[in-house]
């Protein structure tokens, strides 16, 4: 593989040809601010925040680091006063029409624009735009589209097209009229949208967001990586937890089977965990009526009845249906219980159904 030798802020990096300046900088632990960039998506270079200063021989200019590839012998400067001025200017234009409650952090939703504006000390002072131009699209039962928070980074349109292959969201209009929308400005519900939420997972500002987080959004106390409880794809996902509840599910881009992708079930199907229908105490049916019982009472009854049947009819008069929803460890224990404790091989699960 051909290698390029580059100098980034004085640090030498040796990277393969075809590496972007942003990636090369990352390789030597230099962070360059970005907004439209997402490592899961091909670069597009529209936000201009990653602008860097490059010099190769006589060539000298400012380029987008997410998009421009390294050249052998290139010298890169990522944080000159001129660059920082350019970034501040780009951010000032971005915040001009961004909702104040988002910039003030009142929404509780994470916002990459807010973080950058704070870092650069940028406020709405220099330019002031129209904050609330668009009605919310609440037509989908799982997602809200709030174009007032949209910064036109095109992460959602790229995710919809290039990750999901669904091509629902596009940029409509030109210039100041540009906006993210399904074709013909249809409400999302009236399109072929599959509600996968890939757009939402890539959105930096919460312009597309989970419509029904379990509580009004707050910062999660913990983010716990787990595996989706639905089909056999084995997608890793992040449970955003506060107190005793899952607030929402977010993408985990390191999951080997899914690399951040989730379907509607994995992303929006977590409310059952907190359902008021959950059984919280053992129940015993007596004379056709359900009565709550203690664990001791319920398990003693189960043990007694199982022992009774086994003694009277033999162990094969008992059968156990295990679960494809239970863990490996639980399935192991359940079949061990059937075989070693009850004494029967009558154990199966729903693999056939």
């Amino acid at each position: 593989m051909a290698l390029c030798s580059v100098f980034i802020d004085g640090k030498a990096a040796l990277v393969p040809t075809g590496t972007t300046i942003l990636q090369a900088a990352g390789a030597v632990s230099i962070s360059i601010p970005t907004l439209c960039h997402h490592p899961n998506l091909p670069p597009i270079g529209v936000c201009r925040l990653c602008v860097v200063d490059v010099e190769v021989g006589d060539f000298h200019k400012q380029v987008a680091a997410c998009h421009a590839e390294v050249q052998d012998g290139m010298t890169v400067r990522t944080a000159t006063p001129e660059l920082e001025r350019a970034r501040r200017f780009a951010l000032e234009l971005q915040v001009a029409d961004h909702p104040s409650e988002c910039l003030d952090g009142e929404t509780g939703e994470p916002c990459e624009l807010r973080e950058l504006a704070r870092r650069y000390g940028v406020t709405k002072q220099r330019f002031v735009g129209d904050e609330a131009r668009y009605p919310l699209d609440e037509s989908s039962p799982v997602m809200t589209i709030d174009l007032n928070r949209c910064i036109l980074c095109r992460r959602c349109t790229r995710a919809c097209s290039l990750v999901q292959g669904q091509d629902i969201l596009w940029i409509m209009g030109r210039g100041d009229e540009s906006r993210v929308s399904p074709a013909l400005s249809l409400p999302l519900r009236d399109t072929a949208c599959v509600s996968c939420g890939q757009c939402l997972a890539h959105c930096p500002t919460g312009a597309i967001r989970d419509k029904r987080p379990l509580r009004p959004p707050v910062r999660p106390e913990a983010v716990v990586t787990s595996v989706c409880p639905y089909c056999g794809c084995g997608c890793q996902l992040d449970l955003n937890v506060s107190g005793e509840q899952i607030l929402r599910v977010t993408s985990n881009f390191d999951g080997p089977a899914n690399r951040g992708s989730l379907c509607a079930k994995g992303r929006f199907g977590y409310h059952f965990v907190d359902s008021p229908d959950r059984l919280t105490r053992p129940r015993i049916r007596r004379d056709g009526r359900w009565e709550e019982a203690s664990w001791d009472e319920a398990l003693d009854l189960v043990a007694t009845r199982l022992r009774e049947i086994r003694e009277r009819q033999g162990p094969d008069a008992l059968a156990v249906l295990s679960s494809a929803k239970a863990t490996n460890e639980e399935n192991y224990l359940i079949q061990k219980f059937a075989r070693a404790v009850l004494g029967t091989n009558n154990v199966d699960h729903c693999a056939r159904l």
């Binding site: 039962p141 799982v142 509600s195 419509k211 716990v224 787990s226 595996v227 409880p229 089909c231 056999g232 084995g234 509840q245 089977a257 992708s261 509607a264 929006f268 199907g269 059952f272 965990v273 229908d277 959950r278 059984l279 105490r281 015993i284 049916r285 003693d300 189960v302 009845r305 199982l306 094969d316 008992l318 059968a319 295990s322 679960s323 494809a324 929803k325 239970a326 863990t327 490996n328 460890e329 639980e330 399935n331 192991y332 224990l333 359940i334 061990k336 219980f337 059937a338 070693a340 404790v341 009850l342 029967t344 091989n345 009558n346 154990v347 199966d348 729903c350 693999a351 056939r352 159904l353």
Partner: protein, 525 residues
């Protein structure tokens, strides 16, 4: 793709299929319904439900007749070639296409495209297996892969896509009547000796009975006590009237679940279990990848994890099973299961491991059969076409096939309690071809009645060309309009899988609307 509506049932794998298509891959979809991938496919073989063997034999016939097979692979790594050759000779494309109800040029084109693609991967799900010929259908698919040398290499193989998050793991762990963990046979004395030594008790020799046979055994009184953990046969078994009659006869039924399911309603004792978010453990996905789940929130009320409940019960029955952690359970699994021997919690952080993983320093096995098959040579099988158990007739002139939809899952215990998701598909709809709809004067949204020999349901109609004339499709998730009131419990004699994908039905427009339910039963016999 055979019998797999991938973008709805395995959406993340569906994404990869669509990416491969955009990158220039050829796609063949064999499915009676015009699914999303069928619309995108180069060949959509809309076969009559239950004619897979004829179709696949026809494709094998073309591959052999046109010399498209991989002579080197067949000679070096397989046996039974003469048998399969003699069998598929009887399935010339014209005949095979006629049985399957597909254009002969599509069948021939698909056979050539499959043989020409190097490598070519086969994917299947229960559209292939839920037939009285389920295991034979799989053998026919495997024949195609063996004849073209598409095994043991990247991008090839015969890949079943597993439907539940841990159906692979539950099978690996021996939650099956004939095998102990790691598919070690219960009737093998050496295997039993090993587990008897580890568990300290004698173990039963005779293989047990499968889920469908349990229901029959309860009905006949041979099984008296049933312990159901996290399953809902009252919606997922075929012929629910029979299932309910059987379960109601159980002398003692325990159900352990998160919710009061249709099955739990029939129980004598219900034990509250916890969800995936309230416990530690591992799941094994469809690519045999073992991954960690982690407790994220406290348990609800007094609910407890399945494993804890089982161990508590074991102690009460005089056989304590004591573990300090789930990691310790995995260590015992590893000691007794050759394919999991190298697995430990320390190694499962991050991307997990794909079994077989025979030693603690083994990296796992993403691709099976690279250098050899467990039995030595792979076996080709000559398989002859057998029609479905129940075929349309004058009284029940249409065919019903069942399956899932994208936004619901299994018996809806989880998706039905996630309000946004449930709102995307709150009710079942039966898909009806426009020709049939016109004949019966049905429009989308109309209430229609489906009647089979076993039951009837009333559901709303969706008039669509996704199904062919004479075919209707109904998802099985819903308690109101339960598709499995209608389905046929006939079993594959080897795999013991029911023929959920084909039964004969009659489509009617009800005089006045009513609710379907278990209480009402059509006496078509």
């Amino acid at each position: 793709m055979v019998g797999s509506n991938t973008t709805e049932q395995h959406p993340i794998i569906g994404i990869e299929m669509k990416k491969a298509l955009r990158a220039g891959a050829a796609l063949i979809v064999a499915d009676p319904r015009r699914t999303e991938l069928a619309c995108l496919a180069h060949f959509h073989l809309a076969l009559r439900p239950g004619t897979d063997i004829a179709l696949l034999n026809g494709m094998a016939h073309v591959i052999l007749a046109e010399g498209l097979w991989d002579r080197e692979f067949v000679e070096a790594r397989t046996e039974g070639f003469e048998e399969v050759k003699a069998t598929v000779e009887a399935y010339p494309p014209a005949l095979a296409a006629e049985i399957a109800g597909v254009p002969v040029e599509s069948l021939v084109g698909a056979a050539r495209a499959y043989a020409a693609a190097k490598p070519a991967a086969i994917f299947y799900t229960m559209g292939l297996t839920q037939h009285v010929t389920g295991h034979l259908n799989v053998l026919c698919l495997a024949n195609l892969a063996m004849l073209t040398g598409n095994l043991g290499k990247p991008g090839a193989g015969v890949n079943p896509l597993r439907g539940q998050n841990n159906v692979q793991g539950a099978s690996d762990m021996g939650a099956l009547p004939n095998v102990l963990p790691g598919y070690q046979q219960v009737n093998d004395p050496e295997t039993r000796k090993k587990f008897e030594a580890a568990w300290g008790v004698p173990l039963p020799e005779a293989p047990g009975i499968t889920v469908m046979e349990m229901v029959d055994a309860i009905a006949s009184g041979r099984v008296r006590g049933l312990y159901v953990i996290g399953e809902n046969p009252m919606l997922t078994d075929p012929d629910l009237c029979h299932t309910r009659e059987a379960l109601a006869r159980a002398e003692f039924l325990v159900v352990q679940d998160l919710f009061m399911t249709e099955t739990a309603a029939l129980a004598h004792v219900v034990l509250p279990a916890v969800s995936f978010a309230e416990k530690d453990g591992t799941f094994t996905n469809t690519e045999r990848r073992i991954q960690r789940i982690r407790r994220a929130i406290p348990r609800k009320g007094a609910a407890r994890p399945d494993g804890e409940i089982i161990c508590d019960l074991a102690a009460r029955l005089g056989h304590p099973m004591v573990y300090r952690s789930q990691a310790e359970v995995m260590d015992e699994i590893a000691r007794l299961t050759p394919s999991y021997r190298g697995v430990s919690y320390a190694r499962l952080e991050g991307e997990g491991l794909q079994w077989p993983c025979p030693t603690p320093d083994h990296p796992g096995t993403p691709i099976l059969h690279v250098t050899g098959f467990p039995r030595g040579r792979a076996r080709l099988h000559g398989v002859n076409y057998i029609p479905p158990d129940e075929r349309p007739d004058a009284e029940f002139p249409m065919v019903l096939t069942t399956g899932r939809v994208l936004h619901q899952y299994h018996s809806r215990t989880m998706t039905g309690r996630s309000p946004g998701l449930d709102a995307l598909r709150p009710e079942p709809e039966v898909e009806i071809n426009p020709q049939d709809a016109e004949r019966l004067g049905i429009r989308s949204g109309d209430r229609v009645r489906l009647v089979s020999r076993r039951g009837m349901v009333e559901v709303n109609a969706s008039v669509t060309e996704r199904v062919a004339p004479g075919l209707v499709f109904l998802p099985f998730h819903y308690a109101e309009g339960a598709a499995n009131l209608l389905t046929n419990p006939a079993l594959d004699p080897v795999a013991r899988i029911p023929e959920l994908k084909v039964c004969a039905v009659r489509l009617e427009v009800p005089a006045r609307s009513g609710r379907s339910g278990l209480a009402r039963r059509d006496r078509g016999l």
